[in-house]
């Protein structure tokens, strides 16, 4: 169960739906069923009690009538007639008919003498005119004036025979038995008395005090039902166990010693119960079905967007900032997708902004570097100085100021990239100045193949390197020389080497310039700037490479940059 629930969210949803739908359904069904059953059973019991009371009242009245009729046993005329002293038959009949007035429709009244011989009757003579006095009803005859005792017939299914008989002893003058008054009830009598008193759907059974059948509204019940009821009673089982289809109610009628049993059709028959159970079961099944469908539907609704979101996040992880989660929902999941999409837009914008900023920063840096060499007014001043020196015939000052002015003009020009020949030209101006300054202390050699002349390079990248070689490499060196050579080591690549024959580089400076940290380059700001400019423009793969010459003393600075010609018009 736990595994089942923890395996998937869908299972948990299903279980939750199942509980939420099934539990109230079961409780409702059970409560309804019980209420219904209790209510109906109470009604049925009340109705049964009412019927039983009615029948009891009828029986009471009957017993009272019989008891009144039995009073004729005390009539001396009757005793005398039965003793055979010659009383008139009509007198006896008169007494008999008077006493049984109104009862003869229900019962038969016979007078037997002391030997059990039949003598008088309210009806025609019986088949058997001799009854044993030591057996059966005459044996059980109660003394006159006492309670009437009734005896059931041996076989109540023989409806022509009396079903219930009661006998009263008729005492003679001296107290001896003169005869018997026999009261016999037949099937018809019971029917007349009881029909319509116990409900049309019900059946009535009268049992004697030992629960043997006396009268059954349906004679067949005497053999089928009565023994079962008796067995239930003796086994201490509820009477309702005798049949699944009926309910039984009992009342005892003390005067006659009879038990009145009412058989009512079962309110909740097996069929009814089956229908109710089937309905409950079907509802439960429908609940289960709905739970499954709902959990499937809901989980699909939840999982589909979550799956899309999951896929989009995967794309982001793979650096695709164009990931987008399409949806058309307005619920929480829709909002989540919106947030995600919004987040992606913001992220992308931020990154673009970042790149743009970086580029702007780079440009600013480059511009600032260039600005450091851009004092405008110096050019004009230098031009003025050139003319004054020419007037005053100081040719060296004129040359120097001309060269310096060219260099400065070159510096303040707006072009960031210049053809290599221009760069080299300015380098030559610079070298002329240095030659005058240092009194031709070193040689300058330039090798520029003609096909490389028009290659575009960032302006003013050679001068700081050469200046660095003169200031640091050739200081104090006699016959110093600087050689600048442009070459194409492989297609698309331009390499410019500046070699000197000076003291060479200390070992810690040899290698790629860009690999060291900035602080260690503090003394070589020129080299640092050039390297930064190259890398910013062309990427990290380009820049300066510092080494010592293999063929003698001196350092070599190699600048590597992509080959671009003027027509490319990169900038």
């Amino acid at each position: 169960m736990k595994d089942f629930l923890s395996r998937s969210f869908r299972n948990r949803l299903f279980a939750a739906f199942l509980v939420v739908s099934l539990v109230p359904l079961l409780i409702c069904s059970a409560l309804l069923l019980q209420t219904f059953r209790l209510r109906l059973t109470n009604d049925v019991n009340a109705e049964a009690r009412e019927h039983l009371d009615t029948v009891s009242r009828v029986m009471d009245a009957l017993y009272d009538d019989f008891a009144r009729a039995a009073a004729l046993a005390e009539n001396p005329l009757i005793a005398a007639a039965l003793a055979g002293d010659g009383a008139e038959g009509t007198q006896v009949y008169n007494v008999l008919f008077d006493a049984t007035e109104g009862l003869r429709g229900y019962a038969r009244f016979d007078l037997y003498d002391a030997g059990g011989r039949w003598r008088y009757s309210t009806q025609t003579a019986p088949e058997d005119t001799l009854l044993p006095t030591s057996w059966g009803v005459l044996y059980s005859a109660s003394p006159s004036g006492g309670f009437l005792t009734f005896v059931a017939a041996e076989d109540v299914t023989v409806t022509q025979s009396p079903l219930l008989q009661g006998a009263v002893l008729i005492a003679g003058r001296d107290g001896e038995t003169a005869g018997y008054l026999l009261i016999s009830m037949y099937q018809n009598g019971f029917r007349q008395l009881l029909d319509g008193k116990y409900g049309a759907q019900n059946d009535l059974i009268l049992l004697n005090r030992y629960w043997r059948p006396v009268y059954c509204a349906q004679p067949s019940l005497a053999a089928s039902l009565a023994p079962r009821l008796r067995l239930q009673l003796l086994d201490g089982q509820p009477l309702n166990g005798a049949s699944e289809d009926f309910l039984y109610s009992v009342a005892y009628h003390p005067p006659t010693g009879l038990y009145i049993i009412l058989q009512k059709p079962q309110v909740f028959t097996r069929g009814t119960m089956n229908i109710l159970y089937a309905v409950s079961l079907s509802s439960a099944l429908i609940c289960i079905l709905f739970s499954i469908l709902m959990s499937l539907q809901l989980s699909r609704q939840m999982f589909y967007p979550i799956k899309k979101l999951h896929r989009a996040i995967g794309e982001v992880a793979n650096n695709n900032l164009d990931a987008y989660v399409p949806h058309n929902r307005k619920d929480e999941l829709g909002q989540l997708a919106d947030r995600f999409n919004g987040m992606m837009v913001a992220l992308k914008h931020n990154q673009e902004q970042l790149v743009e900023n970086q580029q702007e920063l780079n440009a600013a840096q480059i511009r600032m570097l260039q600005a450091q060499l851009n004092p405008h007014f110096l050019c004009n001043t230098l031009d003025t100085m050139k003319w004054i020196s020419k007037i005053n015939k100081v040719p060296q000052v004129a040359l120097m100021s001309t060269n310096l002015a060219d260099i400065l003009r070159f510096c303040i020009s707006p072009d960031e990239f210049v053809p290599l020949y221009r760069e080299v030209e300015i380098l030559q101006r610079y070298m002329e100045i240095q030659n005058i300054r240092l009194s031709d202390a070193f040689a300058f050699q330039l090798i520029l193949p003609i096909e490389l002349e028009s290659c575009l390079v960032p302006k003013m990248i050679l001068q700081p390197i050469v200046e660095n070689a003169i200031l640091h490499g050739l200081e104090g060196v006699g016959n110093g020389g600087v050689k600048v050579e442009a070459s194409q080591p492989q297609p698309g690549l331009l390499q410019i080497t500046i070699a000197d024959n000076g003291r060479g580089l200390p070992a810690e400076m040899v290698g790629r310039y860009g690999d060291r940290n900035r602080d260690s380059c503090r003394g070589h700001l020129g080299l640092y700037n050039i390297d930064t400019i190259l890398r910013k423009h062309y990427g990290a793969g380009f820049g300066l490479y510092l080494s010592n010459r293999k063929d003698g003393p001196g350092a070599v600075v190699t600048a590597t940059l992509p080959m671009r010609v003027e027509e490319d018009a990169l900038c």
Binding site: R37, N45, Y139, W211
Partner: protein, 346 residues
């Protein structure tokens, strides 16, 4: 999800289902239980009698004593087997009915009781050890079809061996019918000769044919498919009273008068009531009623047989040893089956 929750869920569902189904027994109508009689007012009677015999007696007993009687009915052997099976905790209090030979064979299941009416019972019917109490005397008689046989042609057992009747004798299988067995033993006692020879001769007279039940003896004789039959007086008289055209004779070479009886079951739960019942079965009233209504010959000395019954003195009785018959029940039957199957052999 906490571990307990599924259990709680299941419990909830289970209680729901129980609510739905579990209250069937709440329904009313068990009011009868209050009327159930006390144990001291009960009696369980196992009977092999037919309903027409036991029912009036039981009913009268209930009316007179106020004791509730539970009746279990069945064939003699079936009922006795059941009593033997239940010997550990007997359900029965009284065995009512069954030939005394049968009761004798199950003597371990019964306990002796000398009934209050013992002195009124004819001594020859009484059990020497009071293990059973005789109920009615049942002489073995011969019957013949009054239309097909002239009076005087059948007078005793010896006549059965006459060639005229060969294959026309109605006789119930003694292995199945108690009266058949009593008839066979009576025949052995009444007819002179070695037991084996008599059995073989009788088997030959039957032409190897016997009937499945004692009832068929009366039926086949009455309808003429058999000419003579061996049965009990009481059964024959009832059929005669019912109008069958058959004649009953008491064999002039002697017959038996073996009673059926009742016995007190050993370890009976309602022993006092059982004794009351046993007393009642041999009371004058019951015996009188038996004689008048069922043509049964009373075991009491003071009850005269019905008017149409021969007086006891007119019946020639052989010496029938119940104990011997009971002891040799199986061996006699084995011999009989052997003889019956050996028909035609020299």
């Amino acid at each position: 999800m906490p571990k307990k929750r599924p259990c709680a869920l299941l419990a909830l569902l289970a209680s729901g289902v129980m609510l739905l189904t579990g209250c069937r027994s709440v329904s009313s109508g068990d009011g009868g239980a209050a009327f159930a009689p006390d144990e001291s007012c009960r009696l369980v009677v196992y009977t092999s009698h037919k309903r027409e015999v036991y029912w009036p007696i039981i009913k009268e007993f209930e009316e007179r004593t106020g004791i509730w009687v539970e009746i279990v009915e069945g064939g003699t052997n079936e009922i006795l087997n059941r009593i033997a099976r239940e010997a550990g905790s007997p359900a029965a209090d009284v065995m009512f009915g069954g030939g005394v030979e049968s009761l004798e064979s199950y003597k371990d299941c019964f306990t002796p009781y000398r009934c209050s009416e013992a002195d009124s019972i004819q001594p020859r019917y009484r059990a020497p050890d009071d293990l059973w109490i005789p109920f009615s005397s049942l002489p073995v008689v011969l019957i013949y079809n009054a239309k097909l046989i002239d009076p005087g042609q059948v007078t005793g057992w010896a006549d059965l061996f006459d060639a005229r009747f060969r294959g026309k004798i109605a006789f119930a299988d003694p292995g199945k019918s108690g009266s058949g067995f009593t008839g066979l033993v009576t025949l052995l006692e009444a007819v002179e000769g070695n037991q084996e020879d008599v059995l073989r001769a009788f088997a030959d007279a039957l032409a190897n044919r016997q009937l499945d039940s004692s009832g068929l003896v009366l039926t086949t004789v009455a309808e003429g498919s058999n000419l003579v039959g061996v049965t009990l007086e009481e059964t024959a008289l009832q059929r005669i009273a019912a109008g069958d055209d058959i004649v009953l004779i008491y064999p002039d070479d002697g017959t038996s008068c073996v009673p059926d009886g009742n016995a007190l079951v050993k370890g009976a739960a309602h022993k006092d009531n059982a004794q009351l019942f046993l007393d009642f079965t041999v009371s004058h009233d019951v015996q009188q009623m038996l004689a008048e209504r069922f043509y049964r010959r009373s075991v009491r000395a003071d009850v005269e047989p019905a008017a149409n019954l021969a007086v006891q003195e007119d019946i020639l009785l052989i010496d029938y040893d119940v104990a011997w018959a009971s002891r040799n029940h199986d061996s006699i039957l084995t011999s009989w089956i052997f003889c019956l199957g050996a028909e035609g052999t020299p």
